[in-house]
Symmetry: C2
Subunit: 161 residues, 2 copies
């Protein structure tokens, strides 16, 4: 954690930005919620807990800055807000997402999976790929499990009628 912050600090310095207390508090929140996909508002509320005097505009600016530095990726799942996803250190590609249309959960796929596809696109469409966004919408493993169980229920109910 501290090391991670140190490296981000160095990244900021390399572009002559400072790691202010507000920026550090924001980065800590992101690190502590690495698995989540927080909106700016979410981050703001969490940062306020440890730095109550911070302003919403600062959170927006910090997230934008971290996005430029490629510390976070800005993503959009189609609900009205942008979400910020900490980029895994050393990851050479942006990970993928599984959005559940039943429960709204968002799971991650760290495996690349797109290597072959990207080769085809670069070759056949003469497109130089710099980044990608891949999201699957469907039913997550938890909801599939639940379905099995409540599926039995439904059948019992159906049998009654």
């Amino acid at each position: 954690m501290e090391q991670r912050i140190d490296r981000i600090k160095k990244q900021l310095h390399s572009q002559s930005y400072k790691l202010t207390p507000q920026r550090e508090a924001t980065v800590r929140v992101l690190l502590e919620n690495e698995k989540d996909h927080l909106s700016a508002e979410d981050v703001y509320l969490l940062v306020k807990e440890k730095a109550p005097e911070i302003g919403l505009a600062t959170v927006y600016r910090t997230l934008e800055l971290l996005n430029e530095l490629e510390v976070v990726d800005k993503i959009n799942f189609g609900d009205g807000v942008s979400r910020y996803d900490l980029r895994k250190e050393g990851a050479d590609h942006f990970h993928h997402h599984l959005v559940c249309i039943e429960c709204g959960s968002v799971d991650e796929i760290q495996e690349d999976l797109l290597g072959d596809v990207e080769k085809v696109v670069e070759a056949n469409w003469n497109f130089r790929i710099k980044d990608h966004r891949l999201t699957f919408h469907g039913v997550c493993h938890r909801c599939i499990e639940q379905e099995k169980n409540s599926g039995e229920h439904v059948n019992k109910e159906a049998n009654k009628a």
Copy 2:
């Protein structure tokens, strides 16, 4: 075109919605600009040309309705607006996009490409895929060409100095 509208009309009726003149004008604009990725505002301005009395709210409502009926897909390329993409009839998957970070163009890939990847995801993550969104960000073939040419220019300039 007319047949396509007829089928959409039937789809609306099957859910007891009507194909009002405003809705028809909106659908026509979408059909006439099938290759583009229009925002609600874009659609509004185009519809106004053939039905000047239409209101912006109606366009939004119609696009939302068409999205529910799966006639259009609502997509978001990260600029602040939602865009509406006519779903190809009979397409069993949503097509992919190539967004150029140089010129902003958006090209389409109709080929599936994800068959194998989806099999892996369904099997290894126990996720039942219903839909997907795949977008590549990079440099389009036009900009790559232009680069080659202006690249020569740049070199000439550099040689001058």
